[in-house]
Subunit: 237 residues, 2 copies
DNA sequence: GTATAAAGGATTGCATGCAATTTCGCCACA
DNA sequence: TGTGGCGAAATTGCATGCAATCCTTTATAC
């Protein structure tokens, strides 16, 4: 039996690449995602592209209109509100589970991630946004419930997408300072404080998403996602 | 523009049919789901079957092992516990939202569903199980959050699947009496009581799933799902 | 000049074909 | 009799082809 039994395969890699491209704002909301062009760029046939798009559609990152192709989702303000509200409640569940599971290893993982965030603070904005999102996902993983993890991932991704539509450009979208405080509260086992901090943190992020840019209709598809495609074609991790 | 713009299409219908078959215990956990046979039975090609299976796999109803085909999921006891715990917490969120949205129409929908449950009480067991599951889903719909609805659906389905693995056969899996009480509490706007009742209700269901049947390996695929396939082939709703 | 209709091009929906992988049966051999 | 390996059958992974649908452009009528 190969060690690569759990090898992620091409569909997974393509999905990940597209997801990253969306979250890092290389693919903006409203952009069309034609199967042919994507297939050509990733070096696979439409079959795999279609699978990936359907997966992303299930996550709410892509809109899939019948006979009219896929495009990066453009969540409405109403959906966005719903999403952010649900997010605070779901992450409440995460917090209480992480407090219950708290251990040195867990603390270590959190610290290690925060270090990465600090390091990337002055790097390119998309990367710091991604790391900020991944902080929440790491927390969810540490909560120990696979299903909860999936939900936090999905909500987190969709909130990220929403921010790229509605948030003002220059917001440091997730305060590193706030992550710091949350970790400290968790380390002390202070569930209540951690909860409050998380709530405040998420509310702050949501509030920054208040006024919209009102950018017009569907943009044209941009093929500057070469870096994403390359990884997939090379079969790299 | 056709009125049938939102026409559910074949993949949706097949997914629904398979989901029903799983929840109504026509397809038991561990059964193999070969693309060919299913395609033949539903009158479509493997392409659509594959799409459906992937969708169900995303919901956790189907396990999809690489190069080894699909089978009805066999959730472990650990997963089951996780699922039931998460379920009570998620449905807490549902309760408080429904209380906030309470209105005569909503009450009407609840009553109307309960009537169906009462009517089917002495009908075949699979149908009453399905109706019981749908009570929770109806509540989630009335909560007004599409994402929350999806999560409740998924968790509910998976819990239903779990019950078909671990629960004793003759349990009236969801007390109609308990649904009755929950509706009453909601009607009075008594969030706390409704929450407690729901918690108790779900715990009761989960507890019935304590001792396992320990049925062996993967069974053989049964093609007695003709009724499900027929609807799909006829294009009926 | 505007509006409507028809033709052409582009894109998706679905089926099928071929190669790769796994599984199962069979036979040899200890 | 039990075990190991080899080969055929079954099944999935992926690509491609054709038909159906939608969008765009052009031509024609008012």
């Amino acid at each position: 039996m190969k060690a690569a039994d759990k090898a992620k395969h091409r569909t997974d890699m393509i999905s990940s690449a597209l997801r990253s491209a969306i979250l890092e704002r290389v693919l903006m909301p409203g952009m069309k995602l034609p199967e042919d062009s994507l297939g050509e760029r990733f070096g696979v046939s439409r079959t795999l592209i279609r699978q990936s798009l359907e997966r992303l559609a299930a996550e709410g990152l892509v809109e899939l209109r019948r006979n009219k192709g896929a495009m990066v989702a453009r969540p409405s303000l109403e959906e966005a509100r719903d999403l952010f509200e649900l997010r605070t409640q779901i992450e409440d569940l995460v917090i209480s589970r992480v407090v219950k599971n708290m251990s040195p290893e867990i603390l270590g993982e959190l610290e290690s991630h925060l270090a990465k965030e600090v390091e990337a603070e002055h790097a390119s904005e998309p990367i710091s946004i991604r790391l900020a999102t991944e902080f929440h996902i790491l927390l969810a993983r540490l909560a120990g419930s696979p299903v909860l993890l999936r939900y936090v991932e999905e909500i987190g991704y969709r909130c990220g997408l929403t921010l790229s539509l509605y948030a003002r450009p220059h917001s440091t979208d997730c305060g590193i300072q706030e992550h710091r405080q949350i970790i400290d509260a968790l380390a002390k086992g202070d569930e209540d404080t951690a909860r409050k901090l998380m709530r405040h943190h998420l509310t702050a992020v949501a509030d920054r998403a208040l006024f919209r840019t009102e950018e017009g209709g569907p943009l044209l598809y941009l093929d500057a996602l070469e870096p994403y495609a390359k990884k997939v074609r090379d079969g790299g991790a």
